[in-house]
């Protein structure tokens, strides 16, 4: 894995005694589209607001290229481009004037760079029109344009597919992959829609109730499946104890009257050997695979909106 350009460490937000974001830690390396998946109210926007310094952290740190957002805000922000919720622009200005406005905050964004970004997002035909006449999709694109003007290392898009039609989502995915593969930037995309995440992301973090539940890779079909091994075995509690002690890297749990291990088929011989040696009776071993969707549904108790 490459160097992580964005690091979250124990990020926590407490509002009115309630933990809205609870001890989040994860890394995003350069060149990756990282999905931030969770149902509405999971705390995605709140986390993003903390990353970009709009709200304070109750606890924890965020590092962008090793620079602390809390301690060196201005330096850290030179490496971030972001859209938080809807990209609201100055409606009485033209699209171009809006871009000039945001470009001026950074040092070294040339006129050519603005034109280049306008072209990249296909806005050249209407860039000199007032933003109040833009459609939602165009505003989204202008928002992305404003966020990448200064060639950030980290691009954060909060629910960028909101209000986009399928064609718009495909376009978004195309230029996001261009940005990550060609410019090597890390992109963080939040969404409550699993299907969209599967289209766009290399990895997803699933978050619910402010807690990080799981981080999974989606890079190829096999990896997107979480494997588990179910064992029907005698003397459940002591078998559970034995396996947790012998396989520190495998998560073991008792489901009904069976043992469930979060691992794949390759480990079955090892596991059986240990159980047989300790004189347990084995009635059956099944390997099964769970798709991200099943897992997401299970984790979020079926609240997911697809």
């Amino acid at each position: 894995m490459q160097e992580a350009v964005l690091q979250l460490r124990n990020v926590t937000k407490v509002i009115g005694g309630r933990k809205i974001v609870d001890d989040l830690s994860f890394d995003v390396p350069a060149g990756e589209v990282f999905g931030f998946l969770g149902p509405n109210g999971a705390g995605k926007t709140t986390t993003i607001r903390m990353i970009v310094g709009l709200i304070s952290m109750s606890k924890g740190e965020v590092f962008v290229k090793g620079i602390s957002v809390r301690k060196q805000f201005e330096q850290a922000m030179t490496h971030i481009g972001a859209i938080v919720e809807n990209p609201e622009m100055y409606k009485f200005l033209t699209g171009y004037q809006n871009l000039v406005h945001f470009a001026r905050r950074h040092s070294g964004v040339s006129k050519q760079r603005i034109d280049e970004v306008v072209k990249l997002l296909g806005l050249q035909n209407r860039i000199h029109e007032k933003v109040k006449r833009y459609s939602l999709g165009m505003r989204q694109r202008l928002g992305v344009a404003q966020a990448i003007l200064h060639k950030p290392s980290v691009l954060i898009l909060d629910e960028p597919t909101n209000g986009l039609d399928p064609a718009g989502i495909r376009e978004l995915r195309d230029y996001l992959s261009k940005l990550t593969k060609e410019d090597g930037i890390a992109v963080i995309v939040s969404s409550h829609l699993l299907s969209e995440m599967e289209l766009m992301c290399d990895r997803v973090a699933i978050i619910q109730g402010g807690k990080l539940i799981n981080v999974r890779s989606l890079q190829d079909g096999h990896d997107s499946m979480q494997s588990k091994v179910v064992i029907d075995v005698s003397n459940l509690p002591s078998a559970y104890q034995l396996l947790t002690d012998s396989f520190k890297d495998i998560e073991v749990s008792i489901i009904g009257n069976q043992l469930e291990l979060k691992t794949d088929k390759a480990r079955i011989p090892d596991i059986t050997r240990v159980l047989v040696k300790a004189d347990f009776d084995i009635y059956g071993i099944f390997a099964s695979q769970q798709s991200l969707e099943e897992q997401f549904l299970e984790m979020t108790g079926g609240e997911m909106v697809v």
Partner: protein, 318 residues
């Protein structure tokens, strides 16, 4: 990191690209033109070719008044004595005090600084609050500029707008005066009676500047107050409403409670520094110019500190 200069450019762009701003400027110019026109009309209507005769009659009337009121009111008799002295000086030196010069137009335009204050308060009220209501605050703050810098750029841009209006008002009044009166009266002096009982001549240009200077004090205070309320409540309406309310009721409030000592610590009691000019009486006898300047400075710092804390320390969850 953002440079302050570029941030101010951004704020200026957001002020002057709004049609509303040009409406305000147009309104100010219209008000100035109207005022100048009224002054000219007034002069023509009461124009007197035989002003010397009128003034002699007036002086006689004043003298009779003086004799009648000898023991009643020393303040009034002082006033009469001064007026008579001035009239005699005018007659002796062939100066018609009612002949308007272009400086009178500039001088009168200082009254419109109240309008300039209101217009700038409207702009100041929007500086922070509108970014919240437009939702643009999120993009504005997510950048390599600290909130302190962004606030400073907004404050400077607001003051720049006030300065622009002041210059427009001065220049437009000067031009209107020059068109309506010509340049003949440019060097006619302003006459006044000092504490020493003697007649002083002073430049009308300096008098105009002074008038502007005194009015700018209240402009500065009320605009800074509006800016603070805009940062505190994130609501333009509230910022405008409170600032205008204080502007309107401030004076009557101080007048009503002027018998209490604590009145002197109120912003409104100190905001009008002309109360320390010759011939004027301060709201309370124990107030001095130095005292008022200190109180104003304290309020100013308080407003700035409150805006700064509320803008830089609070979560932005809009």
């Amino acid at each position: 990191m953002s440079s302050l200069k570029h941030l101010i450019q951004n704020e200026n762009m957001k002020i002057y690209r709004r049609p509303r701003t040009w409406l305000m400027i147009g309104f100010l110019v219209l008000a100035l033109a109207l005022m100048s026109g009224l002054m000219k009309w007034d002069e023509i209507r009461y124009g007197d070719d035989n002003w010397k005769q009128n003034m002699t009659q007036q002086t006689e009337r004043l003298q009779k008044d003086l004799v009648d009121n000898k023991d009643t009111n020393p303040e009034y008799t002082n006033y009469l004595v001064d007026e008579i002295k001035l009239n005699e000086y005018y007659l002796a030196n062939d100066i018609n005090p009612h002949e308007q010069s272009l400086w009178d137009y500039v001088n009168n335009s200082a009254m419109l600084i109240l309008l300039i204050t209101i217009l700038t308060v409207i702009v100041a009220a929007d500086m922070i609050a509108a970014e919240f209501s437009w939702g643009t605050i999120k993009l504005l703050l997510v950048g390599p500029a600290s909130r302190t810098k962004i606030m400073l750029s907004k404050y400077i841009a607001t003051m720049g707008f006030a300065l622009l209006l002041l210059i427009i008002s001065f220049v437009v009044a000067f031009i209107a005066g020059a068109i309506l009166q010509g340049f003949s009266g440019v060097s006619v002096p302003e006459l006044s009676i000092g504490a020493d009982g003697l007649i002083h001549e002073s430049s009308k240009f300096i008098t105009s500047l002074q008038k502007y200077g005194y009015s700018i004090v209240s402009l500065l205070m009320y605009v800074t107050m509006a800016f603070m309320i805009s940062a505190a409540f994130r609501s333009s309406t509230m910022a405008i409403a409170f600032s205008l309310l204080f502007m309107l009721v401030g004076n009557s409030l101080t007048a009503i409670f002027s018998s209490y000592e604590w009145v002197k610590y109120l912003l409104f009691a100190n905001i009008d520094l002309t109360q320390y000019l010759d011939g004027a009486t301060p709201i309370r006898p124990d107030m001095t110019l130095g005292f008022s300047v200190m109180i104003l400075a304290a309020y100013y710092l308080l407003f700035q500190l409150v805006s700064w804390i509320l803008f830089t320390r609070r979560d932005v969850a809009a």
